[in-house]
Symmetry: C2
Subunit: 303 residues, 2 copies
């Protein structure tokens, strides 16, 4: 096996060509960062709309653009699938059959078990390709290449969920790339990923959404900054979130159930006038959040 | 009735002396803003700890400091009660009996029905005093005078819950003061206040707290910025929040119940695979939040 991306290290680019399928917020930021850090000689953006690709070119997210999926990915040493999860079903078969021999493939989807199933199934007959699923825990409620930033992944956690039969060199290449982009890489199974992100990302999203659902017009008139912060994520794209929730519904359902039970327990304690229990929940939450803030102030070891 | 603060308008200070009982984040910010905007000739800080008062003096939140409650409030045209709600029971009787004849009194507490009961009961026998309860919807998870800012109330909503027998001139003076401090003043009953803030402030606080309660150590290691924002308010003081929740428990309980029911409904929809219902909830939440963001960009009419 000729590991193309291994022969190109110190002083040279890691990859000759990287194709970003869907150079929006995440894909565009990867393109910018790969170019800025000298990891790729050429970044090719593959999209469905010329207008969006023009924007990606303009902000420096990509070097070249094409609407032709097969041509775009066919010459790439690394392909990053960064379109919404909802497109994977139709894109994956076309994309995988067009991949370069012994190419490297990753995605950046926010749920993993079903995504990995879809892509692995499309990769049937392509044992030469190395697929290492990624989930950089970065982003915002914004979308599109105009919101992209070369620093988006600085200080973020990137979870990878490598398959058991992944070539170690392929995994190393992906890990190295994310580290150079500023991320701390954590490896786990797709199942463990989906369980964890249900609690730290998908549940908080729905919790924010449900807070807004409760507000009437008079409440809206009175809202302060606290609520705007608490619900920031709820300005994210409903389409993207329907896809995410739809592909991780069992774990999210479990997280929602536990969360709703805890809230009802708090309501019961308030009914009883048991404020000491409430105090201990508040104290523990503050300690946890203060630790999270502290951890972000301390640079993470790049391991 | 000699309305002291009315005779002093254009070109002069609105008040000769304002006493801030508890010049912390909110009280200290009021002191700074009153001084900066020329609304008070002298701002006296009344506290329990010399150290805290020194800080308030140092940051310019107050002109003078005293540990003597009676002396501090006795000379003030306006007294602002800005200590934690838990102190009101013991402070209110001492404070009210020391107020200057025909003085003006406000508080800045985050719940109103019980707070108003406590203070009105302490004001028995002082019909000369005008009490106009206030709740400026501003603040942060920080505490103390070092976190204070003269601009804290710029663009915020301040709810007042005047009593039915309040002198119109007293109410006008408080409204005018908040407007000069940058707030949009909304007047409502203490009951309507407590119902609304249960949904827009107290429930979101407990929702954030409960999200953190669900996290284990592994989850903590993976947390991204989204969760930090969603849970920002949970870094607030547990003591303050126990007081707030304790004095608004019926309304918070109702809000928690409705919220938990909505979350369980979402869990049911996910179980059924009914993603269209989820989509409509997500779309409506995004629209609401985008409207809130837009409303904050547009300067509010100062009415």
């Amino acid at each position: 096996m000729a590991v193309r991306w291994r022969s190109l290290t110190a002083g040279a680019s890691m990859f000759d060509t990287v194709a970003i399928v869907g150079p929006g917020l995440i894909g565009g930021s990867m393109g910018m960062a790969l170019r800025r850090r000298g990891l790729a000689k050429t970044v090719v953006g593959v999209g469905r709309r010329q207008e969006s690709l023009e924007k990606a070119l303009k902000v420096g997210a990509i070097d070249e653009a094409t609407l032709d999926l097969e041509a775009g990915v066919g010459a790439a040493d690394l392909v990053v699938l960064a379109t919404p999860i909802g497109t994977f079903g139709s894109l994956a078969p076309r994309l995988t059959s067009a991949l370069k021999p012994e190419g490297l493939l990753t995605d950046v989807a926010s749920s993993k078990v079903r995504v990995v199933e879809t892509i692995v199934s499309a990769l049937d007959g392509r044992p030469d390709v190395s697929y290492i699923p990624s989930h950089p825990m970065a982003g915002s409620e914004q979308r599109g290449p105009l919101a992209a930033s070369a620093d988006l992944f600085e200080g973020c956690i990137c979870i990878i969920t490598p398959l058991s039969n992944t070539f170690p060199e392929s995994k190393s290449a992906i890990v190295r790339m994310w580290k150079v982009l500023g991320a701390t890489v954590v490896s786990m199974s797709p199942q463990a990923h989906d369980r964890a992100v249900a609690r730290i990302s998908h549940l908080p999203h729905l919790a924010a959404v449900a807070l807004l659902a409760a507000l009437d017009e008079e409440d809206m008139r009175l809202c302060g900054r606290g609520l705007l912060d608490t619900t920031r994520v709820a300005s994210g794209s409903p389409d993207l979130w329907v896809d995410i929730c739809g592909t991780n519904r069992e774990e999210i359902r479990g997280a929602l159930d536990s969360y709703a039970r805890l809230l009802q327990e708090l309501a019961e304690r308030l009914k009883d006038g048991d404020l000491e229990q409430l105090r201990s929940v508040l104290v523990s939450a503050k300690q946890k959040r203060d630790r999270l803030v502290e951890a972000r102030r301390t640079p993470r070891p790049r391991t």
